[in-house]
């Protein structure tokens, strides 16, 4: 589904991603972990070109999306992204948050989008919030809305950048539950997180990033039971 070839990214003369090559297959749930500042967010944001790679290429479903001639908006419609700070649109109702993109991109008529929004809200048990504004919701509710807002575009791939890091502890569970359900339905997911329980339970593969490189990766059980690199062992001893 995604092929990353020799991806590098610098901010000024600060090399943040250092020649990363990686392949993500349909249906995979790739969990990215690593210390703060290791380049996890930058890697994720390069996948939907919120950051422009300095060099290297990214191929999505056979299309080279790093080609400047590509219609990046059409590509992004097929990838959802969930942010640490939700980024709901505060000036719109929840329903409008969900329907804006499908309607504006002509994926759906307003009626279809409204029906989709109702169905998605039902799925996360927030039907009664359709006409509320984001400011009226709790953090956990906001993040569940942010997830279904992305799903309204019917993406093939979902990117999550620390979706539970800004939440009060008691709200983490409700967001992880929605993500787990999504994973069970077969969604391809790339998740940056510090939730090691989620990585173990839901992940099909764990990537450990440090210093702009993917230092180590494995299937979760082996990864956590048997880390090989000293940096990985050190990191896991701090977070587990």
């Amino acid at each position: 589904m995604i092929d990353v070839k020799h991806l590098s990214k610098s901010f000024g003369d600060h090399l943040v991603l250092d020649d990363i090559s990686e392949h993500i297959s349909p249906g995979e749930k790739v969990v990215v972990i690593g210390p703060s500042g290791s380049g996890k967010s930058t890697f994720l944001r390069c996948l939907n070109l919120l950051e422009t790679p300095t060099s290297g290429s990214i191929i999505f479903n056979g299309q080279e999306i790093t080609d400047p001639k590509i219609d990046i908006n059409a590509i992004r419609r097929q990838m959802g992204m969930v942010f640490q700070h939700f980024n709901l649109f505060p000036n719109m109702t929840i329903r409008k948050n969900i329907t804006l993109a499908p309607v504006q991109t002509k994926l759906m008529s307003q009626e279809e989008a409204d029906d989709t929004a109702t169905a998605l809200l039902r799925r996360v048990n927030l039907e009664e919030k359709a006409d509320a504004y984001p400011a009226q919701l709790s953090g956990g509710q906001k993040q569940r809305i942010a997830i279904v807002r992305s799903l309204a575009m019917k993406p093939q791939l979902m990117l999550f950048d620390e979706p539970t890091s800004a939440l009060d502890p008691e709200m983490v569970g409700e967001v992880l539950a929605v993500m787990k359900e999504l994973a069970e339905e077969g969604m391809t997911m790339v998740v940056v997180t510090h939730e090691m329980g989620f990585a173990r339970e839901v992940g099909t593969r764990v990537l450990f990033m440090d210093g702009g490189k993917i230092l180590e990766q494995n299937e979760p059980h082996t990864f956590f039971a048997n880390p090989k690199q000293p940096r990985t062992i050190d990191f896991l001893s701090k977070v587990l």
Partner: protein
């Protein structure tokens, strides 16, 4: 005649009242026209200012806008008005109202553009990223997500800008126009009331009333836009 008698006379004597109202009308015409021009101009200049500088086609417009804002903000309003009246539109029969509206509109646009630019930049970058990650174009993201939030942020400062504009129009008598301030000066003369305090007080009250109404309107609009903030 006491102050109070002279003051009352301004509103009871038909000739005096008409004089004041003629001046008031001119003040309003210039203010409304300049405000409209300033808002349009300010919005355009702000959008050019924040447009991606990578596009080489945007370099010249960006430079023009930057020079415009710097020159207008760095020179006195009276001088700008003189240049418009005695140089640019020094054409016989050219209506002075139009000259004044253009001069004040251009001046106001420079300040408004700075307000709007600040308002747009104050919207969290995460809003733009969320819009773009959903596949919206840069234009649609700006129009549906960023601008509505920026407008909410800039309404108070735009209101202040309009208030400053209305008061600043009082210098148009310097190019021989008859506005509210000129009317009060006229009424103060020897052939009329032969008194400064009464007509000046009356004019002050008119200005205060306009500013008060505008402040009230801005508060109302602000309250409406804050609807989505309620918890």
């Amino acid at each position: 005649m006491s102050f109070l008698e002279k003051f009352t006379l301004i509103f009871t004597n038909a000739k005096y009242l008409e004089s004041m109202l003629t001046g008031l009308k001119m003040t309003l015409v210039i203010s409304v026209g300049a405000a409209a021009l300033g808002l349009v101009l300010g919005t355009i200049v702000a959008l050019v200012g924040i447009a991606q500088s990578k596009n080489p086609l945007m370099k010249l417009p960006k430079l023009i806008c930057a020079v415009y804002v710097t020159v207008i903000r760095g020179t006195p309003m009276a001088l700008q008005l003189f240049i418009m009246a005695f140089v640019v539109f020094a054409i016989r029969g050219f209506p002075l109202e139009v000259t004044a509206i253009i001069a004040f509109g251009i001046n106001s646009g420079a300040y408004v553009s700075e307000n709007i630019r600040g308002g747009i930049l104050s919207v969290d970058i995460g809003q733009t990223e969320a819009g773009r990650s959903l596949g919206l174009t840069a234009g649609a993201t700006m129009r549906y997500i960023v601008i509505p939030q920026a407008v909410k942020n800039v309404i108070p400062s735009i209101g202040n800008e309009l208030i400053a504009l209305i008061k600043e129009t009082s210098i148009v008598s310097m190019i021989g126009m008859y506005d509210l301030t000129a009317a009060s000066k006229n009424l103060a003369s020897g052939q009329n009331l032969a008194n400064y305090l009464a007509p000046m007080t009356a004019a002050a009250l008119f200005y205060l009333a306009i500013v008060y109404l505008l402040t009230f309107a801005v508060k109302k609009i602000e309250g409406r836009l804050r609807q989505s903030d309620r918890r």
